[in-house]
Every structure is written in C-alpha cells, then in structure tokens.
C-alpha cells in the first residue's frame, strides 16, 4: 500500500532550516492498522501529511499503491485525496457554516456524484457513526466527539481504502476517544488500511503495529522509553 524510501522533509523558515523528516524508510501493507507514536515535533504529522498527499517531500520517493506520488499532476493528486484517502484531523477541520450533512457531502461533490446518491450516502454514513439525528446541525452545535464523528463520516464518503487519522482523540476525553477508536477498529475490520497518530500509549498498545518516531526519524521503542 505505502512504500517510502529515504524520504526527507526540510522546512525553510527564512534563513533557518528545519529538518522535519530524515531519511524515513517505511512500508505499510494493505489492511494494516498502525499507530504512529512519538513526542511533539518528532515528525509524526509531517509523515502523515506526506502520506496523505497534503504535502510533498523534499527528497526521497513515496509510492502509494505502486505509483510514485512525485510524478502525479495536481489533478491526479486531488483525485487520490478524494478517492483513495480519508483524512481525519485532530482539530476536525469541518466547514463551520455547513451542516453535518453538507460537510459529509463535500468529497462526494468533488467526486461528481449525483444529488440523490450524495444524500443517500450522507444519511447512511451519519447513521453509521450514530448521528442520524444531527444531520442538520452545524459544527458549533455539536460536541467534540460528535464533530469528530462527522469528520470520520466525511473521510468515508468515497469509500477510500486508506484512512489517515492525525490524533483523532487528541481533543476528546477518554470515553469519547474510546468510542472513536472503536469506530476505527470497525473500519479496519471492513478491510481498510488505517494509520493513526496517537499520544495515548494505551490506545497505541492495543493496535497491531506501532511506529515510533523521534527527531524526524523512525526509531525502535527502546530509545523512546529511555
């Protein structure tokens, strides 16, 4: 599913260079459920953004389902983000003026689905995340957990095989967070590949695979512990 060779990311902020990723090599197979763990500033989010085609890498190569992302045009990348990847952010990133239903509808709109199909799909997805009664609510009228459910429903809109979640439970209390993780487990059981950044060691420990990061590089668990 995902293969990265010697991927580095350097941010140039004025005269200061900051190396967010150093020579990352990683392979994630289909149907894996990985936790990405590491302290703040260790490059987890940068890695996630590159995987999600939201950012490009400075050097190295990234293959998504066998295709080199560097060679894709802007429109191809847009289609990949639309069809292949579902992204769930820590801060939800819902459109504030749109209802839950409209938020879920956005990726379907970009995919060019008919109105009837879109409405059906929105209803189905929001029912699935348990928000059938909040379809017409705006983000400001919802709790954090509910907003994150809307975001998950939105990430599933075009039925993508890969779900990327950047600390989806970071802004939620433990119980709500637990429910969200359960939802991801379900999605994994359906056969999706899921990569999830988390700060919570309890959540990470329950997942089949853990990827540890420190200072922009992949490390093994021992170094983090020490």
């Amino acid at each position: 599913m995902i293969r990265m060779t010697n991927v580095s990311k350097v941010y140039n902020t004025g005269s200061i260079k900051f190396e967010a990723l150093r020579e990352v090599n990683i392979e994630i197979k289909e149907r894996e459920f990985c936790a990405v763990v590491g302290p703040s500033g260790s490059g987890k989010s940068t890695l996630m953004n590159i995987i999600g085609c939201l950012d490009d890498c400075t050097t190295g190569e990234y293959f998504l389902r066998g295709t080199s992302v560097a060679n894709m045009t802007q429109n191809q990348l847009a289609d990949v983000r639309n069809q292949t990847i579902g992204f769930v952010f820590q801060s939800f990133n819902l459109l504030p003026y749109a209802t839950a239903e409209e938020n879920v509808e956005v990726p379907l709109l970009f995919a060019g689905k008919s109105r009837k199909l879109r409405l059906e799909r929105c209803r189905h997805l929001l029912e699935r995340v348990g928000l059938a009664d909040k379809m017409k609510n705006r983000p400001t009228e919802m709790s954090g957990g509910e907003m994150q459910r809307v975001a998950i429903a939105r990430s599933l809109a075009n039925d993508p095989p890969l779900i990327l979640a950047d600390e989806p439970t970071g802004n939620l209390d433990t119980r709500t967070g637990g429910a969200i993780v359960d939802l991801f487990n379900e999605l994994h059981d359906e056969g999706r590949t899921i990569i999830m950044i988390t700060h919570d060691p309890n959540i990470a420990a329950k997942l089949p695979r853990q990827i540890y990061m420190q200072d922009g590089a992949l490390v093994d668990k021992l170094r983090i512990a020490s």
Partner: protein
C-alpha cells in the same frame, strides 16, 4: 458579513454613479431643450439711447423705431435675417371665458413670430397668419397655461370665443407645452398672441415694445445685428458702431454659454464618477481580499478533500459574479426608483416641481453597465488572485495558516 459588505459596496457604487449620471444627463437635456424654448438663433431688440455723438448731434438721444422700420429691415436684409417680427406688448389684459377670468399679457405680432420663438400650435389649431394680420381679425392664440386657466383644458377649445377687455376674440390655437428657461416678458405659456394690426387698432401704439429677429442658419448673429444697424442708423442718424443706440439681447451668446458650460459639467461628472468608482472598487477589492484570506483554511480543507484547483477558482468566480450581479441589480433598482418616484413625490408634498429646475433624470444605460462591470471585475480580480494563491499552497499550509 463580508459578503454583505461586498454587495453593499457594489450596490452603493452603482447607486451613486447611476444617480450622478442620470441627473447630469437630465439636467443637460433640459437645459438644451429649454434654451431652445425662447427660440433658436434669435435676438430681441428694444429701443435704446445713443452713447456717441454723431453728425453734430449729441449723445443721449432716444432711438425708437416703428413697425414700418421693421418691415424695411425685413425687406433689406433677406440674405442675413430669416424672420423678423415687431412685438407690441401690454400686460394686465382681462381675459374672460364664461365665468373664468384670468389676467394675462398680450403680444401683437406678425405670423413669423411663432416659428422663430418656438411657439407651436397643438393639434387642431393654428398660429396667426397673414390674413389675420391684413384683415385685423379678432383672433387669439393662447399659451397653454392661460388656456388651462380659462377652459380647464387645453384641447378642443379652438373655435371658442373669449373676451379680452370685453371685446370678443376667436381662439385659433393653443401653444404646445414647451420648456422655456429664459424670457423677457414672462413665459409664453402665460400669454396671448394677436395680430399686430389688431393690437394697434385697440391700443393705438406708435412704437412696438421690441422686435425679434432670427439670423439665417450659418450666419453669425454679429453680422445680422450689423445689418439692423445698417438700415436704422442712417434713418435715425446715429453711429452704426454705437452699441447702445439699440438695446439688443443676443440669445445665441447664452446658448454658447450653456454648451460650454455642459462640456465642463460633463467632464466634471465623469471625473467624479471615476473617483466614486475608484473608491468603491478599492472598498470591494479590500473586502474580497479579506474574504479570501479568511477562507484560506476552507480552501485548504476542500483541497485536502479532493477539490481540483479549478473547482476552487470557479467557486470564487461564481460567488463574485453573483455578488456583483446582486449588488448591481439592487443598486440599479434603488437608483431607478429614486429617479422615478422622488420627483413626483416632491411635487405632491412640497408643491415643488423638481423637473423645472434640474430636468427629468434619465437613466444612462451605458454608464450603468460600465459601473457594474468595473466594480464586478474589480471584485473578481481581487478575489481571484488571492484564491489562486491559496489554492496553489500545499493543503497543509493553507489549513494551518489560520
């Protein structure tokens, strides 16, 4: 909120420019119209007093002329003057029709007076003619307002008889409504016109109050006036270069003044219009710029969800077009209704006829379209480029910017 401000910006810009141009256009049209109300290419000549000694006679002599002199001028200046008429005038005639009375000024004139002074009959009537003159007929041509006063209407009164100072006259015609912004003895709508011969048989005047002549098309009024002096100066013994011997009002100098004035006025309007547009445009551009900046995050989210760049740009262009169209339409509607409803309203409540002073504002379609499109294009450009910039960012950057 910003969206509303953008609409208001375009709306207000449209209102001000449309009003500005419309009122300006109306004013100009009215002035041009009115300056023709007194007559085209005419001068009015009153008796005068010499200011220069001539042939041993001192200055300060009074120069007057008779109807016969006017006839002589007519005969001897046919290459410079196309129409001429003496005018005997007296005010405070008592006109009476049934129980309605009105006091009016009456002019005794020749038939050609009508056409050169833009006094045209309404349908069904006629102006005075040569036979009226020759036969000293008791006929009268009425100004429209005086006819309204006597009959309560201006149509269908030809053939009626009115009494002027108790003598019956046949009404032969009523003047078409006209705008007249200058006069020397009251507006024509408040006068009656009778043949000069009839006037004299009642009032027995030796000298006309004044005479009016029209220069031929293409002839300088100055030359036509010299012709008048050429005939009268030897006869009454005054220096032909003595401009005070006759008191002459050259109305063409006034129309020249107006046409110069409106050249300046129009330039002035265009300059004001441009400034208004620039102000409006800057406001709209400013707002659009902020709108896009505020929505950079939204753009980022949409790109992260798989929007093509063109979709984002289309969205902003569509919104821009809609806002412009909305603002433009509302602005036009307000300007239009102001123009349509305010003058009659003023007339009703304040008894103040705006149209008489500033004319009827006339919507300048071209100006309106130009205004709306300039403001609209400004809004779109101001929205388009920041939107393009935002959509070219890496989605992550766009999301994190705000």
């Amino acid at each position: 909120m910003r969206t509303i401000l953008t609409v208001v910006g375009i709306f207000w810009g449209t209102v001000s420019v449309v009003l500005l141009f419309s009122v300006g256009k109306g004013l100009e049209e009215m002035m041009l119209n009115n300056s023709k109300g007194l007559g085209d290419r005419i001068s009015i000549v009153w008796p005068g007093v010499t200011a220069k000694a001539w042939n041993g006679m001192p200055a300060g002599r009074r120069i007057r002329y008779t109807e016969a002199d006017v006839a002589e001028i007519k005969m001897r200046t046919t290459d410079k003057i196309s129409a001429i008429s003496p005018e005997y005038r007296s005010s405070d005639f008592n006109m009476k029709y049934n129980r309605n009375t009105a006091s009016a000024s009456i002019s005794g004139i020749w038939p050609e007076f009508g056409e050169m002074r833009s006094i045209l009959p309404q349908e069904g009537g006629r102006f005075l003619n040569q036979r009226d003159l020759d036969e000293k007929r008791r006929v009268v041509f009425l100004g429209d307002e005086i006819a309204e006063k006597l009959f309560g209407k201006t149509g269908d009164i030809v053939g009626e008889t009115i009494k002027i100072n108790k003598i019956p006259y046949l009404v032969i015609g009523v003047m078409q409504k006209k705008n007249q912004n200058s006069s020397y003895s009251g507006r024509d709508k408040n006068k009656g016109f009778i043949p000069s011969t009839t006037f004299n048989s009642i009032m027995s005047r030796r000298y006309p109050s004044n005479f009016v002549f029209q220069a031929k098309a293409g002839v300088e009024m100055k030359d036509a006036i010299n012709e008048v002096h050429r005939v009268l100066a030897p006869k009454y013994g005054y220096d032909p270069t003595d401009t005070r011997a006759l008191s002459i009002w050259d109305t063409t100098r006034q129309s020249k003044f107006w046409s110069d004035f409106f050249k300046v006025f129009r330039t002035f309007l265009v300059v004001i219009g441009c400034f208004t547009l620039i102000t409006g445009g800057i406001g709209v551009a400013n707002i659009m710029h902020v709108v896009v900046q505020e929505r950079t995050k939204e753009i980022g989210i949409k790109i992260a969800l798989g929007a093509h760049r063109s979709m984002i740009l289309m969205q902003f262009l569509t919104e821009g077009t809609l806002l412009t169209a909305l603002g433009g339409a509302l602005g036009f509607a307000l300007a239009y209704s102001l123009i349509t409803f305010v003058p009659p309203f003023l007339l009703q409540t304040l008894d103040f006829d705006l149209a008489e002073y500033i004319g009827t504002p006339n919507i300048d379609t071209f100006g309106t379209l130009l205004t709306v499109s300039i403001l609209g294009l400004t809004a779109m450009f101001a929205g388009y480029f920041p939107a393009k910039k935002a959509s070219n960012l890496q989605p992550v950057q766009a999301i994190k910017l705000f």
